[in-house]
Subunit: 115 residues, 2 copies
């Protein structure tokens, strides 16, 4: 058992200006995500429960059509299958955690969220 060095992981491009380094554990996926200021994550949903933890910056997270401003110290829990989208007000770093594992994030060929 060794620590995983995020810098050595392949970087997933989730959308223009949005990249992630993803740790796939046995039961959870942990995504260290960077969003450039102005970057937009199109509305999407997935079966996985998600917890969004903002580490740096300010993120507008729209959930079921309702916008929320997330900054460090605010955490959003998204049940599975809830439509959500994001917009980076500033450069943003977040840690997203998912259960069950995001099978699509295991693939290095993730095509990104599309409008």
């Amino acid at each position: 058992m060794k620590p995983i060095e995020l810098d050595l992981l392949l970087e997933l491009q989730l959308a223009p200006g949005i990249t992630a380094r993803v740790v796939t554990a046995d039961s959870m996926t942990v995504a260290h995500v960077h969003l450039q200021k102005g970057a937009i994550l199109a509305e999407h949903k997935h079966i996985n429960e998600q917890v969004v933890n903002v580490i740096e910056g300010e993120l507008e997270l729209t959930v079921n059509g309702e916008p929320h401003r997330l900054t460090p110290g605010k955490v959003m829990v998204l049940p599975g299958n809830v439509p959500h989208s994001g917009r980076a007000i500033t450069d943003v770093r977040i840690i997203d955690v998912f259960h069950p594992v995001r099978e699509d994030f295991r693939q290095t060929s993730f095509a990104g969220y599309k409008d």
Copy 2:
């Protein structure tokens, strides 16, 4: 669905100098943990898989008797039931995520990890 403000949550005292604010989702527990320099988390184990994400500082995490130095950008995945302990080399902030939910962390009366 609203963001959770960590500052409004009750702070759990995990051990002397180690506090956590804990978000219990449906399938996961997310603990925002602060360790004061020098603080020690005694060896313990739990059924829950755990992923340790260091946000700030330097943590010595001993897993199965083997010490590892964790700094931002290093992530440790701990399978369930693996004995582990921690020592804060500096002040440290980490985000620990667990599946299944840490039932003991639901309680505001968590008595702390003991030697």
